[in-house]
């Protein structure tokens, strides 16, 4: 780019140096006192959002007080991407078996839009046995034998419903309150509202398992119009857990320490000259980055957990699995990470082929998660963390009471169904051992205590001490919130 300098250039270079040296003395007139001014900019985030909303908060992730006393400090959200069949897991409907194979009455399906079903679909009974478990007598199918052992910790909601019936929009709806991309995700809202307790780790961490990433993509943990500092950090299951957390080849830990000291010294020198308090923030962020370089690998190194823990979760260090992610989730909340979001892909049991039907595919997925979910609840409880950690398990919508029979497929499966589905919640603030809501005889509509996705969101925020109507951010001329203009807290769920 630049040829070797000529003598002439050398002379001019000296002139340049002389000029800039003179400038320097003027530049440095400010002095080190400017550093102390950082605190001036330490505005409260909410004040910043309401008034001087175009200004960044100097400490956007600093812990902030909740709106009211929280029931939970942390959230672990286990999302089963693809939408598990509630009718084969939680919502016991004997009538489906009674009418199995018969056309569903038109009164149910008139005016309905389906993703894949064509013509008049036929009722599909569940091939699985249900039984009541625990003191609360919660109904569960035989596909979740381990969960049955801790069922008194969980509240099953059988009356969930949503507006969306395709994966990407429905997942976005659950996690951002809108079916379109571009809104902040729940974890972003929570970190925006409460900050983070452990400054050595991100406040909102995302873990993925299953053969694919969730359909809604990275927008599911995006920060939308909130500053990007609130977006979820994906801990990758292969390679570095956090991008670029390891030093490059040829840079050892002590070289990194030495170079960070040089960066700090030179930044401090420049701060003394130019007085911009943003430099102080930068110096801090570099210190934090350095600490992350040790905390993150330590955190993700699950092999040091005792054998009985691995046995409980069914974890195999080094393997990408939902089990490993559940164990990691526990380690994250243990270290004060506010919001841990898991996605497990592969619950879309249409019955278009053997591996995605409810006879082979669904039991396989259940085996993959039943043990780990149960272990997570047990483990959190043993450590005294369950009381302060809200755990949510569920998909983005439900599945039809009818067999999909796409192109005459001989495999049994169910199409997407927005009107009724089941999820469970446990831990911080949730009443265990209860079942909320009910669907009609065929499990088609939620008829008793219906809980809309926005209601669920309002309830989750309530558990963590945030009033969903007050957690707002002004963007393009209006106040936005996770629950749009909807949502009611489901008090029946709260302990």
């Amino acid at each position: 780019m630049t040829p070797r300098m000529t003598i002439d250039q050398e002379i001019r270079r000296e002139a340049l140096k002389a000029v800039t040296r003179r400038q320097l003395f003027r530049r440095c007139g400010t002095g080190m006192g400017a550093i102390a001014l950082t605190s001036l900019l330490n505005e409260d985030l909410f004040a910043a959002a309401a008034g001087a909303r175009t200004e960044p908060a100097a400490e956007p992730l600093a812990p902030k007080p909740p709106h009211f006393a929280p029931r939970a400090k942390n959230i672990i959200y286990l999302h089963m991407a693809g939408a598990p069949s509630q009718l084969d897991l939680f919502d016991h409907k004997p009538k489906l078996n009674e009418f199995n194979g018969q056309p569903i009455p038109e009164s149910f399906t008139k005016g309905e839009r389906f993703a894949f079903i064509k013509g008049t679909p036929k009722v599909l009974g569940s091939p699985y046995k249900f039984a009541p478990y625990g003191c609360g007598g919660t109904m569960l199918s035989e596909l979740l034998p381990r969960l049955a052992t801790v069922v008194d910790e969980i509240a099953v909601i059988r009356s969930m419903h949503t507006d969306q019936f395709n994966h990407a929009p429905a997942q976005l709806f659950v996690h951002t309150g809108s079916q379109l991309q571009g809104r902040p995700s729940m974890g972003s809202w929570v970190t925006y509202g409460l900050g983070t307790q452990n400054r050595d780790l991100p406040g909102f961490v995302v873990l993925l398992s299953g053969p694919n990433n969730p359909d809604g993509g990275t927008a599911l943990w995006g920060s939308g119009f909130l500053p990007s500092v609130y977006q979820g950090t994906q801990f990758r299951s292969q390679g570095e857990p956090v991008l670029f957390v390891s030093n490059p080849k040829g840079i050892s830990a002590d070289v990194r320490r030495d170079s960070l000291e040089a960066i700090r010294d030179l930044n401090a020198r420049h701060l003394a000259c130019c007085g911009d308090p943003e430099i102080t923030t930068r110096i801090e962020q570099y210190e934090l980055a350095y600490r992350m370089q040790t905390t993150v690998p330590e955190l993700t190194e699950i092999s040091r957990e005792p054998a009985e823990v691995h046995q409980m979760y069914g974890t195999q260090p080094g393997r990408v699995s939902f089990s490993n992610n559940c164990l990691l989730a526990r380690r994250l909340v243990e270290r004060g990470v506010r919001f841990v979001q898991l996605y497990d892909w592969g619950w879309d049991h249409h019955g278009a082929a053997m591996d995605n039907d409810i006879v082979h595919g669904l039991p396989q997925k259940c085996r993959e998660v039943d043990q780990a979910c149960t272990a997570l609840l047990t483990d959190l409880k043993q450590r005294g963390l369950l009381a302060e950690t809200l755990v949510i398990w569920g998909g983005e919508f439900g599945r039809t009471p009818m067999n999909e029979a796409r192109n005459g497929s001989p495999f049994l499966g169910r199409d997407h169904h927005p009107h009724a589905f089941s999820i469970w919640m446990a831990g911080g603030g949730i009443k265990g051992g209860i079942t909320l809501g009910a669907t009609d005889e065929l499990g088609y509509q939620a008829v008793e205590d219906p809980v809309h996705v926005h209601d669920l969101q309002a309830t989750i925020l309530a558990c963590i001490g945030l009033e969903h109507t007050k957690l707002t951010y002004r963007f393009q001329g209006r106040e936005f919130r996770l629950t749009d203009v909807f949502g009611n807290v489901v008090t029946k769920l709260l302990a």
Partner: protein
């Protein structure tokens, strides 16, 4: 779907000032049925932004000598009012770095900086500005912001997020900025270039602005539903970009604060409602992309085609060798034929040879006429084993041409317009009364409708209205954005919202002055020229101020709204990498063409229903400017995301400027920044002269333009010496770092020394000052 009662009940939950509710609810209830005009609120004084800007008189100022142009008078008058004074002019090294980064997005070379520092002519700075405005990198720099507004991406978004070819639109934007296309034309071509008489290919490509919307191909979705969402996005984006107005609220109801109605919204939407469908199920379950698109040509494609025709010539050219081979082949075919003939007398045809050729073969060689001979020879060449490698090469190139992204999505009007309805509560399934296209009542004057009243208004009418002199918003919104790029903050800080809920301009006279200059320059220059406005801004004394800040000033004006000092803020994502590449000498200055794939970590692209792999580019394409980096919405380039680029799923009016540890990890450890550090180390050792001090000087100036002060220089030298000792003891580590994926360094360069300079360079590329416009 939600019941109406539930909806209204939940509406009561919104925090609305109590006084507003009384007028709000009735308007709300009737909004779905009638054209109600502006809300029934007494609007005695029109909101400032809805009144046409008038050229303000220059305010009186005390320090006339400080003012270089009218901008300074407006700024100084405001400062005087607050009892404040402007700062001194920034030193020349700082100034040239600042204006370089603002105008072309690349730092000046060491020579350019020296030339400027040593130039004693009175217009030394203006010469730099004019040189930069004429530099083709100017278009790349300006396009970054515009492509954010256009939500430009190289993929469709949503679940499948298939890749799309859209780069011709990106190049159109770069070229338009470089040509300083007047902003009215720039607007008309992007909104309605396809509707211009005898629209050129370029004008059609320009309409890609509103084809950057996402496209949902997920199985089971309703194409008509997503067509509606796309329309909504086009309305919201167009209104935000040109009018600085969030029409979005009115999708569901009359605007709560601004005099915009739901009917306004759907009349605006009607302009966009008559374009061709973009997806269709065609009887299946998965929507298929049937978007209208145009095909472009590139020098690369032309070169590939030329290569194909050369190879074809080889295939068509008879040679003695081929003729000899043909004789042998004929012999063998005949033998085969006789054998067959012996067995089945009725089928005298050699196996695998077409009938016509077999017939010729059946004639003895000396009996064939010229035509038959030619035909047989041509056939033989098409199967000749000697030509097989050439044929394979042709086939390979053919697949390359097929895979080469050479199309661009465009708007295409249907022969007959679709009917547009108001959608109750914004819902796709709730169409109500029908409306015709029209502009928002509060912003319109009587002569906005087409002169021929029988003609159905089109996007072209909308485009012309957007840039008509009567529109009070477009010029203000546009110059405000230019100002925001230069100063980090607009005169209206909410650059996306000029409505009553946006912030008021900190200096409305200044804004109106710029808007009037833009539409109707007093200098007699051509109107609607962005370059003129930028030139006016960057040559002002206001812009040239030092950004150093005193505690007193910081207390008085922490966010520098009044501009008693120069701008200082972190660079946009792309420029942070561009700058590192430029300083190191790795940067490829190649412009335009399909997007490229610089090195990124494994496993970023990993989405359902897609087996696409990130095809890392080779050679110089790894080191192109950030604007050419392939942007996949579901998995964008991670280094840019760390620095606040957005996914481009929706219009990004203003990127946030955060400061996070993930950014530090990126510039410290990402190969995208380690490779430039290693390359800069080589440059330092080859060009920095002898001695650690001289080399430290060059390193510093290559990155930061100014020279280090003695303390800074000493710190770098100390680090270098410390690192040199470490790496001399660990030659293997030194080699890893010195190479860092680049080619093997020249033999004369000591590896431990290179490694030590790589660490120093890595430090320099991570300084706050480096990441910041000075």
């Amino acid at each position: 779907m939600r019941s109406r009662s539930r909806f209204l009940r939940s509406f009561a939950l919104i925090a609305v000032p109590a006084g507003l509710v009384s007028w709000l609810v009735p308007v709300w209830l009737i909004a779905q049925a009638k054209d109600v005009g502006p809300p029934a609120r007494a609007m005695t004084v029109k909101h400032w932004a809805y009144v046409r800007p008038l050229l303000p008189a220059l305010p009186p100022v005390k320090d006339k000598a400080w003012c270089r142009n009218p901008i300074d008078s407006f700024v100084l008058a405001r400062l005087q009012k607050e009892g404040m004074h402007p700062s001194i002019e920034a030193d020349r090294a700082t100034l040239i770095r600042r204006v370089n980064l603002d105008l072309i997005g690349l730092p000046p070379t060491v020579e350019e900086a020296m030339d400027f520092v040593n130039d004693s002519s009175p217009n030394a700075y203006e010469k730099v500005v004019d040189r930069l405005l004429a530099n083709p990198h100017y278009g790349e720099r300006q396009a970054i912001r515009w492509l954010d507004l256009a939500r430009y991406a190289d993929s469709n978004g949503y679940e499948k997020d298939r890749l799309r070819s859209m780069w011709p639109y990106r190049d159109w934007v770069i070229n338009a900025f470089n040509a300083d296309m007047p902003f009215d034309q720039f607007t008309i071509e992007q909104i309605a270039g396809d509707l211009l008489p005898n629209a050129t290919l370029e004008q059609k490509i320009a309409t890609g602005f509103n084809r950057n919307t996402m496209l949902n191909e997920e199985g089971g979705v309703d194409p008509e539903e997503y067509r509606y969402y796309v329309l909504v996005d086009r309305v919201n984006t167009t209104a935000t970009v040109w009018l600085g107005t969030s029409l979005g609220c009115c999708q569901c109801h009359n605007h709560k604060f601004d005099p915009l109605t739901q009917v306004d919204y759907y009349r605006f939407l009607a302009y966009f409602n008559s374009t061709a469908e973009e997806t269709s199920k065609r009887g299946g379950t998965d929507p298929v992309d049937i978007s209208p698109r145009v095909t472009v040509d590139t020098p690369q494609l032309a070169a590939i085609r030329k290569r194909v025709s050369e190879l074809r010539q080889t295939l068509d050219r008879p040679t003695p060798k081929l003729e000899q081979a043909q004789v042998q082949w004929e012999q063998s075919e005949r033998t085969a034929a006789w054998t067959v003939l012996d067995i089945i007398r009725s089928a005298p045809r050699p196996a695998g040879v077409p009938g016509r050729i077999a017939a010729i073969l059946a004639i003895s060689a000396d009996q064939r006429d010229e035509k038959q001979k030619r035909e047989l020879a041509a056939y033989y060449r098409s199967i000749a084993p000697a030509l097989e490698p050439v044929r394979q090469q042709v086939a390979l190139i053919r697949t390359r041409i097929d895979a080469y992204p050479k199309t661009s999505l465009v708007m295409q009007e249907l022969p007959h317009p679709r009917a547009t309805h108001v959608h109750t509560r914004g819902g796709f399934l709730t169409p109500a009364e029908q409306v015709t296209p029209g502009t928002p009542a509060v912003l319109s004057t009587s002569n906005d409708s087409p002169s021929d009243e029988n003609r159905f208004p089109t996007r072209l009418d909308l485009a012309k209205w957007l840039v008509s002199i009567d529109n009070p918003l477009t010029a203000r919104v546009t110059v405000n954005r230019v100002w925001e790029e230069c100063f980090g903050r607009g005169i209206v800080a909410t650059s996306e919202d000029f409505g009553t809920q946006g912030e008021r301009p900190v200096n409305q006279q200044l804004l109106d002055f710029l808007a009037c200059q833009f539409m109707n320059p007093s200098t007699g220059a051509r109107p609607w020229r962005i370059k003129s406005i930028i030139r006016l801004i960057v040559t002002s004394a206001t812009y040239r101020q030092s950004s150093n800040v005193t505690p007193q000033l910081l207390e008085k004006d922490p966010y520098n709204r009044l501009l008693a000092r120069g701008p200082r803020f972190r660079l946009p994502a792309e420029l942070i990498r561009d700058q590192a590449l430029a300083a190191s000498g790795l940067l490829s200055e190649k412009m335009g063409g399909p997007s490229v794939f610089p090195i990124q970590p494994e496993g970023i692209w990993h989405s359902p229903y897609s087996s696409e792999k990130w095809p890392t580019s080779n050679g110089g394409d790894r080191y192109r400017r950030g604007i050419y980096t392939f942007h996949r919405r579901s998995a964008p380039y991670p280094a840019f995301m760390a620095f606040d680029k957005t996914t481009q799923e929706a219009v990004c009016t203003r990127r946030s400027r955060t400061d996070t540890p993930l950014q530090a990890l990126t510039t410290l450890n990402d190969p995208a920044f380690i490779q430039p550090a290693a390359a800069l180390a080589r440059r330092i050792m080859q060009q920095g002269g002898d001695g650690t001090q001289n080399r430290a000087d060059l390193a510093f100036r290559a990155v930061l333009v100014r020279s280090p002060d003695p303390i800074e220089r000493d710190r770098m030298v100390a680090l270098h010496d410390q690192m040199l000792r470490k790496y001399e003891a660990k030659p293997k580590e030194a080699e890893k770092l010195a190479i860092s994926g680049l080619s093997v360094p020249p033999k004369e360069l000591s590896i431990p020394d290179l490694a030590a300079w790589t660490v120093v360079s890595n430090v320099l590329l991570n300084l706050d000052e480096t990441l910041t416009k000075p």
